[in-house]
């Protein structure tokens, strides 16, 4: 019997590449052979560049229209910088989807607060799309987005739509005189979000320190750790629980995460070098 090889990628065709800012771009990918693809918001794929390497990238499209797949990638190193040079018509390898997902069903009938930093907006965009498509199922929905500078913001052309249906606030770490919005860390936006703490779920994605401080601030507002969800990141070589690289506490982030409750991750967000 030939076992299904979970390490073998499928081929995906680059249909479109859009630059979001100087180092971030979005790929639209169509499978060459695969007929269907199902995923949940928060899950990720392993994207492979011919001969160079394979990286974990969250899916950032609409999970109710899973194909073509949408991935927003920040060029930071060998593989992602090579991906930045991809053009329409190129073919890449892709395995997935992997990992746990955001609690979009559990959040129905509740207020939702989404707090993201930088590229952390990408893994939460499927949640935003889902909520927008089922807006009546949710209470007040706040989206708080922090970026380094106004020029670093991504998905700018969607802002108007979000503004209309969500309580959408942005902030940047630093800005030139031209910027008349808020400046500072994303936690400063929390007072603007309106929610009923006893009936709210929070979803946070960004650097670990950011997730930690946002969680603390939300606890001050009356949320308990079970109501807060975070997405964790570690080096990943396999995404299927074999390489050990993403091991954290009693979990493997690739298969038990990346989305966890803050209750599960609190301890590790407080410790250094774990």
């Amino acid at each position: 019997m030939q076992l299904l090889d979970p390490m073998l990628p499928d081929q995906f065709l680059v249909k479109r590449k859009v630059n979001e800012n100087k180092d971030t771009f979005t790929l639209t990918l169509e499978p060459l052979e695969k007929k269907s693809f199902l995923y949940q918001p928060g899950q990720f794929n392993m994207l492979y560049m011919f001969g160079l390497g394979e990286v974990a990238i969250s899916i950032s499209g609409n999970s109710e229209k899973p194909l073509p797949l949408i991935h927003t990638i920040r060029a930071v190193g060998t593989t992602t910088k090579a991906m930045q040079k991809l053009k329409k018509g190129d073919v890449i390898g892709l395995r997935g989807p992997f990992g746990s997902s955001w609690p979009i069903i559990q959040a129905k009938g509740k207020d939702v607060i989404i707090v993201v930093g930088g590229i952390g907006l990408a893994p939460l965009r499927p949640v935003i799309y889902y909520i927008l498509a089922h807006r009546q199922d949710y209470g007040r929905v706040s989206l708080l987005y922090g970026a380094r500078t106004p020029e670093d913001q991504i998905y700018l052309n969607e802002f108007a739509g979000w503004q209309e249906k969500l309580d959408f606030f942005t902030i940047v770490d630093r800005a030139s005189k031209k910027w008349n919005g808020d400046v500072g860390v994303v936690t400063r936006l929390i007072p603007k979000a309106k929610f009923n703490p006893s009936n709210t779920l929070a979803m946070i994605c960004g650097p670990e320190v950011m997730m930690r401080f946002v969680s603390l601030a939300l606890q001050d507002k009356g949320l308990i750790p079970e109501q807060i969800f975070v997405s964790m990141e570690r080096n990943m070589k396999c995404a299927i629980g074999f390489c050990g690289h993403c091991q954290l506490g009693g979990t493997f982030i690739c298969k038990d995460g990346p989305v966890f409750t803050y209750k599960e991750m609190k301890r590790y967000l407080e410790l250094r070098e774990v």
Partner: protein, 371 residues
């Protein structure tokens, strides 16, 4: 009723090798290379380390001549059976670049049928732990699975332990309980040199075909049991496993990590010799024409800085954090992840640590500074 407990002459072990070979098995057994016990393919029992015993302590290993011509009186060396089931380096796949596509070719190797001869209690436990990791989780590793499928195992009850052994604490030895086709207990006295053979599977019984035997008597059984009991009693090293997961989870900031970090060289030896450590990394390469790319998988260690690298730097920069990662995972988090400890008490990491760091001592120190 067929008999499951037999006595064969020591030299009849050769017939077991021969039968295994004629059934198409490559016979892998202990032998000597560069003054240590290694596992390698042999077909003659004369290639076993006959008449040798080992001496092991923290950071020290020595093989020496024994007064008796026993076949299995040494214990484990740096090698483990892991190298056959979870190879140090394998190709996962190849791809060919086509005009507007890539052609992925999965690796369909037919690994040879292997027979492991001389597998000890701690090592059976280690194999069963890697079975748990690679075969009984959400995903199945096709490489491990194809290699594991046809393995024939001849286990051995240890008649001798060394100072680094602590299988009794981990409840993995010295008696072999399950996971083998045949087990042996070696009995050598003035009058005879024999093996008490236990038959655990039909495959095992088939391999014994045409080998002269007699049915073991109650007395033979008692002699064998006594050998195992004496070995167990000679083991001095202990690891107290009570509430060990809680102990480790609660002591991330225990000052004793600093002390061990001052000695640890972050050399990764402990993880390479450990029969349960399973971590790997991948290498992606292209050939000179740039038309064929390959992906290889090889053993990796949580003691390297690359292991925890994410954009911007390693998560675990200090030696302290890496040693802590290893120990907390091995003895604690494995229980959550796989329902078993990651340690079988073989002592390899103690012997092969160049500075003699002792996992059992580290747990003791943590307990003393618990809080």
């Amino acid at each position: 009723m067929e008999n499951n407990s037999l006595i064969i002459l020591a030299e009849s072990l050769q017939l077991i090798f021969d039968n295994l070979n004629s059934f198409g098995y490559q016979t892998i057994a202990p032998t000597i290379s560069e003054n240590t016990i290694v596992y390698d393919q042999i077909t003659k029992i004369s290639d076993l380390p006959i008449g040798y015993i080992d001496e092991q302590t923290g950071g020290h290993y020595r093989l020496k001549k024994h007064s008796k011509p026993t076949f299995f009186s040494y214990t484990v060396g740096a090698n483990s059976w892991k190298k056959y089931l979870h190879p140090p380096k394998v190709r996962l796949w190849q791809i060919k670049r086509k005009a507007k596509a890539m052609e992925f070719v999965s690796e369909e190797t037919q690994p040879p049928k292997l027979a492991f001869i001389g597998v000890r209690g701690c090592e059976l436990a280690a194999i069963s732990i890697q079975d748990r990791v690679f075969l009984k989780d959400k995903f199945v590793d096709p490489i491990y699975s194809t290699r594991r499928k046809d393995i024939f195992i001849v286990a051995i009850n240890c008649a001798r332990a060394v100072k680094t052994c602590f299988c009794t604490s981990m409840q993995t030895g010295p008696k072999v309980e399950e996971g083998f086709d045949l087990s042996l207990t070696e009995i050598l006295d003035d009058k005879k040199h024999i093996f008490l053979v236990k038959v655990a599977t039909e495959k095992g019984r088939e391999i014994l075909k045409n080998i002269p035997y007699k049915v073991a008597t109650k007395e033979d059984e008692n002699i064998a049991e006594n050998i195992i009991k004496t070995t167990a009693q000679s083991i001095e090293k202990k690891l107290d496993t009570e509430n060990i997961k809680e102990l480790l989870y609660q002591n991330y900031e225990n000052p004793s990590w600093d002390e061990v970090a001052n000695r640890c060289l972050s050399c990764a030896n402990c993880t390479m010799v450990c029969p349960t450590c399973f971590c790997t990394t991948v290498q992606d390469t292209t050939d000179l024409t740039g038309e064929i790319a390959e992906r290889w998988r090889s053993w990796d260690s949580c003691f390297t800085s690359d292991f925890s690298y994410i954009h911007g730097g390693s998560v675990r920069v200090s030696t302290k954090s890496r040693y802590r990662q290893w120990l907390v995972h091995k003895l604690g988090a494995w229980l959550d992840q796989f329902g078993t400890s990651g340690c079988v008490g073989c002592g390899r990491c103690i012997t092969w640590c160049p500075v003699g760091i002792d996992i059992t001592e580290q747990v003791k120190t943590l307990r003393e500074n618990n809080g």
